[in-house]
Symmetry: C2
Subunit: 341 residues, 2 copies
């Protein structure tokens, strides 16, 4: 069967299924509108560890263990783990998995990593490489702040377009022939550099990438927004969410209320002082594993497009005057057997 | 056909072929024993750019372009690029590819990234996802030194077990059904933490991971060292090379002179003042794309095992007292049609 559709999209004939999922978040995320969706909420920002970096790693490991437990799947039954995070050298992922004895593939897609890991895991399983895999992603507000911005003690001011890096992790277990929401298509994103240089407007930097990937997905599959019960971008926040709607509106395409953004959903923007919303790869990871897949299990949505977005910059590229390139990978999920396309 | 062999290894029935390759390196690497193998050697450590980080990105982009040119393949004919590097947020890779309009998957496997990208590209193509892909990896001595160790101006002293981060990039183009050395097997490595904490003994930290992956490869495939004309580890350097030989000798397995290490091959250890040898993900990338695949083209070797090694640490994990976990992924390459296993 021909798997490639158009330029960037692949059909997964075997449509590997989500057989396990877990979301672990921090206190602030646990106080938000999605609190009931998470498996564990830690009151302690250090998750029992001495440093925030070790906390981030512990949160990821805990999330992985919970997903396995909930799926009644021994970690040893997994063929491999695909994982990534925002810390330099992706150490929270590798340290989370270092004692698992499982084949490990490290990824870096910035805040798009949950979609990248899920897409790659699904493609590898569909390709006949093993039968079960885990996609694992997370971020931590405190470790990210001091790495990307300022030490927390500095008390840096945030502007209205700023986003709040989520303390959260999501783990999704995929299995060939399993029962659960199925990955039917993936659209691999190209990098889009729209020339945005404002480090406090990540939503604006990433929205053009989301636009490119979603447009490619619709063109490649012949689908439109109406073919989905819900479309989620990763972490564009309120600003990027509106920008993406406007970009599609200019094309005469209305995304309407079926389109939501994980960064807008994770917090109460009116009361939680997160300005434009959530960000960080733990944002879309925990919202996918906690909220979106739960909604699919409960029949709220049967066909969902999950499009996590990432800003592929570093503090150094910004200091050296470069703009912020964005990327977005999209994964189509569907309840029941995949419909013929 | 069953693709999984044993615990960690996959057989690739379609065995995607290397149809293009390029290696671009810096001046020091161009003065080493492999100088004749490289496509371009830059006398300028900044590769015409203002900063070393931009230079690293430019080197990667140049390497990608050269590989396409040499293969007479338009970049637009590629389905996706898998790329990674050592810089924080993997920016040299993403900035190298940001204007390519190609679907991009960022990886982080530290110095194992060339094997990780090659393995994943081959698996995706074998799985029917597209027909051509690029695996691209590089590192730069100057950008790595100031990020991981000290500013160059500081003139830090190096100890005898230290390795020299290579300024180099390698690009390998794979195509389903193409003509060239074929990827027949991949062994995905698990992380191994042997408790080594000495940042100046990376070879010692990574050798146990190479041992684990090679042992798994031999057990999974029923092959032994004698089934390969040559076995290359990524960048264990002289120390790690000897350690790996000793670990196998303890099992009664002799790797003998068919076993080489890219970090030992890249420089003249007696005269180039690199102490224990080369490292950095550009080391195994440039040696693979420049030397190993050239040797296969020339019939020096017909069956090769390429096992790049990585240290999954960060300066911060070292400061926080953690040991250095290693990982190693192995890719088996073979001239002509894959033999039955």
């Amino acid at each position: 069967m021909r798997k490639k559709l158009g330029k960037q999209t692949y059909l997964l004939p075997s449509a590997p299924a989500v057989v396990g999922r877990a979301a672990v978040v921090g206190q602030k995320e646990g106080e938000g509108p999605l609190r009931a969706c998470f498996d564990e909420i830690s009151e302690d920002s250090r998750f029992g560890e001495k440093t925030w970096e070790k906390a981030e790693s512990r949160m990821l490991r805990r999330c992985f263990e919970l997903a396995c437990q909930k799926a009644s799947l021994s970690p040893a039954a997994l063929d491999f783990v695909l994982s990534g995070d925002l810390l330099n050298q992706c150490v929270s992922s590798s340290f989370a998995m270092k004692d698992s004895a499982l084949p490990y593939l490290g990824l870096y897609g910035a805040c798009s990593t949950m979609a990248e890991s899920l897409a790659l895991a699904a493609m590898l399983l569909d390709g006949g490489f093993g039968s079960a895999a885990c996609a694992l992603t997370g971020s931590h507000f405190c470790s990210a702040e001091r790495q990307f911005r300022f030490p927390l003690e500095y008390g840096g001011q945030r502007c209205p377009t700023s986003q709040w890096t989520a303390t959260g992790a999501g783990a999704v277990l995929l299995q060939s022939g399993g029962v659960g929401a199925r990955v039917t298509h993936v659209t691999l994103g190209a990098i889009v550099d729209a020339g945005i240089k404002d480090l406090n407007a990540m939503g604006a930097a990433m929205a053009p990438a989301a636009y490119q990937t979603l447009k490619a997905h619709f063109a490649d599959t012949g689908r439109g927004p109406d073919d989905y019960d819900a479309i989620f971008t990763g972490d564009l926040g309120a600003l990027g969410h509106d920008l993406l709607q406007r970009l599609f509106r200019d094309d005469g395409v209305e995304l309407d209320c079926r389109y939501m953004d994980c960064g807008v959903l994770l917090y109460d923007l009116a009361t939680q002082d997160v300005h434009a919303g959530g960000s960080g790869c733990g944002c879309s990871a925990s919202v996918l594993a906690g909220h979106i897949l739960r909604g699919m299990e409960n029949g709220v949505w049967d066909r969902v497009l999950f499009a996590a977005t990432g800003a592929l910059m570093s503090p150094l590229t910004a200091q050296q005057g470069s703009a912020i390139p964005g990327v977005c990978h999209a994964v189509a999920l569907e309840n029941g057997r995949a419909r013929a396309c």
